[in-house]
């Protein structure tokens, strides 16, 4: 029997977010779905997430915007995008002609702006769901990142929830010290699902020019380098909430994806991996089905979280040693 790969990412929402398979192209790494059209069969994806949309159109940051780092990369694109109005003028109509679900990622600097964008999206056709990017500075709180604080994250979630019935994914920031607390807060505030992790704030110095390599000083680290951090946070969050968790961070192949599923992710997103290996997401769908069959599972649900038996909050050099005979 061919294993069932379908998943529902919004089981509590009557509008549902049912995907044929749990492989999603991540925000900022797949444009608006058309960029990879000539290269892979986009319609076979479980879903894709748009580049982050903002209230107004943005030209993005100065160059350079990307730097390679060990087994990873730093980006500071600066959310170059046509703005919510530019977005709705073009993409909903295009997406309507497709079978693959399109999710819209939104970023803003105030709670009201998040809600305004969500209200606009609620009226559009062919939008499968909204992903709220809370890794943004809250101008009302002096630029402190929404996603580092449970209350501010919940506030955004609630505001968006109150203006739309669309499936709502909240995408957490790995900069939060206690990411499980943020996850619980946004679940309580009405998130249908939680996705993580966004990039981590990093920097690289140009030794020759003696200043930061990125024009924007800092950027977000993604790729294989961050995988162990992402797996830990997904494991930790999955142990803390009941809504579906969507895992990402450094997925480059089947075994990486399985680490996330076994940790408790219902679906996975792929970002940097697509840049490096565009065929990866489609191959992953086939490899997942093959692996489930080989291991005797009849559906992807059966492996979600089976490596997760609760998370022990702790720092790296914890004092939970197993005391043996001596040293």
């Amino acid at each position: 029997m061919v294993p069932d790969l379908s998943v529902d990412l919004a089981p509590n929402n009557p509008r549902e977010l049912r995907l044929r398979n749990p492989v999603i192209a991540a925000s900022g790494c797949f444009g608006y779905g058309e960029e990879y059209a000539g290269i892979i069969d986009v319609q076979r994806l479980g879903a894709f997430v748009s580049k982050g949309i903002t209230p107004e159109r943005r030209a993005g940051n100065s160059m350079p915007r990307i730097v390679e780092t060990p087994a990873g990369m730093l980006n500071a694109i600066g959310l170059q995008n046509p703005g919510i109005r530019g977005f709705v003028k073009k993409y909903p109509a295009l997406w309507e002609t497709w079978t693959v679900p399109g999710i819209v990622n939104i970023s803003a600097e105030s709670v009201a702006d998040y809600a305004n964008m969500a209200a606009i999206l609620d009226e559009q056709p062919a939008i499968a769901g909204i992903e709220i990017n809370v890794s943004c500075p809250n101008v009302a709180r002096g630029g402190y990142c929404f996603g580092w604080d449970p209350e501010m994250s919940a506030e955004v979630t609630q505001a968006v929830r109150s203006v739309t019935t669309l499936p709502l994914i909240v995408k957490l920031s790995p900069g939060a010290s206690d990411i499980a607390a943020v996850a619980r807060a946004v679940e309580d505030a009405g998130a249908d699902a939680i996705s993580l992790i966004n990039t981590l704030v990093g920097m690289a110095i140009d030794v020759r020019r003696r200043k930061p390599l990125l024009a924007n000083q800092t950027g977000g680290v993604s790729g294989p380098a961050i995988k162990p951090l992402a797996v830990r946070m997904v494991y930790q969050v999955a142990a803390a909430v009941r809504v579906p968790v969507i895992g990402m961070g450094g997925i480059m192949g089947l075994y990486d994806a399985l680490e996330f599923f076994l940790s408790g992710a219902t679906a996975v997103q792929i970002g940097t991996g697509i840049f490096v290996d565009p065929g990866l997401p489609i191959r992953l769908i086939d490899d997942l089905r093959h692996w489930l069959e080989q291991e005797g599972f009849s559906s992807i649900d059966q492996i979600v979280g089976i490596a997760n038996d609760g998370f022990h909050l702790g720092a790296p050099h914890v004092l939970t040693a197993w005391e043996a005979a001596g040293v």
Partner: protein, 290 residues
Amino acid sequence: MPAAPVSMFGSSAKEPDVPTRTAGGGMPGTSREFDSEVLSVERIMGDAILLTVSAPPSVVAHLRSGQFFNIVTRFSGSFDPLLRRPYSVYRAHVETSSLTFLVRAFGRGSAWLAERVPGDRLAMLGPLGNSFTIPGRAQRLLMIAGGVGVAPLVMLSDDAVNQKRDVVFVMGAADEAGLLVPSELSSHIEYVVATDDGSRGHHGLATEVIGDYVPWADQIYACGPEPMYRTLRAVVDPLRINRRPRTQISVERGMACGVGACLGCVVETTRGMIASCVKGPVFDLDQVVL
């Protein structure tokens, strides 16, 4: 010795139980992703190589000068260096269904490429980007190459000669060893060289010898480091009449995706921030903010 059942290296391992392809390898046939075989590696221009690889006939047939390929420059069991490197096509060979790249061994990726031997496999993505164009009425073409920037101009000059245009090809390099040997260019081309150390040709920059050719030229092409374009503009602009001749340049930007999805490779133009991997790498110099 065989691994203990609990082994340390599990998580970063390639999946051994499932059929896999080379990292970066794609579905053959369905896309611009393909695996190619290294056919030959030849030293050229001092520290550079000419790397010839196999490619599907359909790819080779439709290739245009200025287009490039994003190549995985690491062992398939490694994720570092992570990103593909873009390389312009130096020559396409329809007869042997192969492509030649000119790679200067400089950093991590190019050094890895320079270590390849015939028979090795490479994961390719391409052709990517736009291309140089030869306007129908442009008979006299001036090409200016800085270092390995010579790569796409070699293919362009081949095309131009085939189309019976007149080509003056100016190349600048640090020293004589860094120059392209004349035998690599068609004998119908006038080849002018400049070296920083004066070991051959003009002692100085390539842009210092083009003054005489600008009024002659119907169209200018350039490929080299960014400062060269600024100098070029300063040299050419005062010599232009009615903004003619125009100059096509190939810009170099760090790239992640190569297909317009990440917006990491943009060029500031008079029309805004444009992805150089899709709407470039070739731009009209007048439209680029340098």
